[in-house]
């Protein structure tokens, strides 16, 4: 009887995680969009580079979720609810995001939009490593971004019986949100030329400047909304 009850409770809480993930997917997409879309646009045309980029991004995002799950369970709901540490963490995440985006925009200057870029000789090291490392860094940082659905998931995970349960909760939540990211592979259909890559790089710089400003403001404890 107790075993059945435990099964039922697990089913309900993981179902809740999946529902929360699916429902908050658009919010996650909106939060990750400024980071994900311009960086994806600097990749080469084709589904494979995009699938590889997204896999690295999502895998690192999962690591971010898991890290947060551990912290949430260890410290309880406090970590996600107290405004001061939350602001501090958000500020640091924004600053790191800005740095990675600026580095990404700079390193994408050598992206080759021409078919010659497929050649192994041209691709030695540079682009592929940048893509995976950059995607992983951006995925990890967006994974730690404390958006409202993520905080809700953190509070719920902190109420579970064990750290393993909290980790599974976040894993299921992650799967629910990740479904919304799959269509981004479709950006591979857009034929790249130098104009698109330049626009994407410039957009990354603008977004990075915004994150930099907001990050500094958060670290200084300034209001960033409400004026």
């Amino acid at each position: 009887m107790a075993r059945e009850y435990l099964h039922m409770a697990a089913f309900v809480s993981y179902g809740e995680a999946l529902a929360l993930g699916l429902a908050s997917g658009p919010a996650c997409l909106a939060a990750c969009g400024p980071v994900l879309i311009p960086s994806l646009l600097t990749e080469r045309t084709g589904f494979r580079p995009h699938a590889r980029y997204l896999s690295a991004f999502l895998a690192a995002r999962l690591v971010g979720y898991m890290l947060f799950a551990v912290v949430a369970w260890e410290l309880g709901a406090l970590a996600s609810m107290l405004p001061a540490p939350r602001l501090l963490m958000m500020g640091v995440v924004y600053l790191l995001l800005a740095c990675v985006l600026l580095w990404y925009a700079y390193s994408a200057r050598r992206s080759c939009a021409q078919p010659c870029a497929d050649s192994k000789l041209v691709q030695i090291g540079e682009s592929r490593n940048r893509g995976v490392a950059g995607a992983a860094a951006l995925g990890l940082l967006t994974g730690l971004n404390l958006c409202p659905p993520f905080v809700v998931a953190g509070i719920r995970a902190a109420q579970l019986g064990s750290m393993a349960a909290a980790l599974v909760f976040f894993l299921v939540f992650f799967l629910g949100t990740s479904i919304w990211f799959v269509p981004f592979v479709g950006l591979g259909c857009i034929v790249r030329n130098q104009a698109i890559i330049t626009v994407a790089r410039m957009a990354m710089v603008l977004i990075a400047l915004y994150y930099l400003l907001i990050g500094i403001a958060m670290l200084l404890g300034k209001k960033t909304y409400g004026y």
């Binding site: 311009p38 626009v199 994407a200 410039m202 300034k222």
Partner: protein, 384 residues
């Protein structure tokens, strides 16, 4: 014989006769007073009637000169600069009457009383599609719906012609660009043309992420001469400093140094968005490759950097063309022509020009003319 006919058309056409020009102006002569007297902001007060009459005469006279001289850019610019100067006068006056300040307090935003301009239109699309919410603190019925409806109707016909005949911001920099006799900075990196697309991409994505019109909050240079966020915090202060710096740089200093509309060509995300509609509009500029030398006079004349050597070689303008007519007027060989898609290039270009100008000028009177009349009424209110 055919060669002779070709050679003859290379000379600039003689001015039209006064009677013929008047006949061509007749529709505008009728349209102007009707539009101004029955526009939404009209009244029967003497000040409004006088300002409407002045505006109607002004718009009709400019159109008459366009017909008589075959020239478009010069006369359009007079209208456009007037619009650019009179819009802030009227708008700021209204702000002071309504709320006593140019700063919008947060309470006004929450109450949905922020005036809506066309700039945030592309920023509203994704949040509206995802959440069925408009991320602008304005009234839908009182302003947003009317502006979006008007913009859509005019854009489908004119494409990016909006930026030369309706935008109430571009006139300031066009006026500044007209001041110096020649450009001090001539060599302009063509990669700057990509910036408006980057601003558009960044602002659309950020607007969805932070759920507010990011461009209006952070980057609009024209906040400096219209309305700004009431700076009650450090962030508000930083935003206002950004607005002023962008205005001083892109709308005053760079147009003066380059004789180009630098804010439009190098920054405006709405202009980039509007460029897409040039694909839909039936009107465009084309270059008759048989006549073109190419001497690049058109490229130098273009205020929006919408011509490049490559595009001239292809016989077309870039996607960002605002259909202002500067290239057509500048070409010494009549190689740049107004064109209706689906017809042969250089097939009755004056007919294409007339069709475009009737549509564009009717729009200019309806939208810009009303603003000019309100600006004149504001000045009369102070003077008389």
């Amino acid at each position: 014989m055919a060669t002779n006919a070709r050679t003859l058309t290379l000379t600039r056409p003689a001015p039209r006769g006064i009677l013929r020009s008047l006949l061509l102006t007749l529709p505008i002569l009728i349209w102007s007073p009707l539009m101004l007297l029955f526009s939404p902001g009209s009244s029967t007060k003497p000040v409004w009637l006088i300002s409407s009459a002045i505006t109607a005469l002004f718009m009709t006279a400019l159109f008459f000169m366009m017909m008589r001289t075959h020239s478009t850019y010069h006369w359009r610019r007079i209208f456009f600069v007037s619009l650019g100067i009179l819009f802030p006068i009227e708008f700021i006056h209204n702000l002071f009457v309504m709320r006593g300040s140019m700063g919008i307090p947060i309470e006004e935003m929450i109450a949905g009383r922020t005036p809506f301009c066309f700039m945030p239109i592309p920023l509203l699309i994704l949040p509206a599609a995802f959440t069925r919410t408009l991320v602008f603190p304005g009234s839908i019925i009182g302003g947003i719906a009317a502006m979006v409806g008007l913009w859509l109707a005019l854009t489908l016909v004119m494409g990016k012609g909006w930026c030369s005949y309706a935008c109430f911001f571009g006139g300031i920099e066009e006026g500044v660009a007209a001041i110096p006799p020649r450009a001090k900075i001539r060599k302009l990196d063509p990669r700057w043309r990509y910036v408006p697309w980057a601003v558009l991409l960044a602002m659309v994505l950020l607007s969805l992420a932070i759920f507010e019109p990011a461009y209006c909050m952070w980057l609009c240079p024209f906040k400096a001469v219209t309305e700004y966020v009431a700076a009650r915090s450090t962030i508000g202060l930083i935003q206002n400093v950004i607005f002023i710096l962008l205005f001083a740089g892109l709308v005053i200093a760079l147009p003066f140094l380059t004789k180009k509309r630098t804010q439009c060509a190098w920054f405006c995300p709405f202009g980039a968005f509007q460029s897409i509609f040039n694909k839909i509009s039936i009107f465009e500029m084309r270059i008759d490759k048989e006549r073109c030398k190419p001497c690049l006079v058109c490229q130098n004349a273009c205020p929006n950097l919408s011509l490049s050597k490559e595009s001239i070689a292809r016989g077309e303008t870039l996607l960002s063309c605002m259909k202002c007519g500067a290239c057509v007027d500048a070409c010494p060989r009549q190689a740049v022509v107004w064109h209706i898609k689906g017809t042969q290039i250089a097939w009755k270009p004056e007919r294409a020009r007339l069709m475009f100008l009737y549509a564009a000028w009717a729009m200019a009177i309806m939208f810009g003319g009303t603003i000019i009349a309100q600006g004149i009424a504001t000045i009369l209110h102070f003077v008389v």
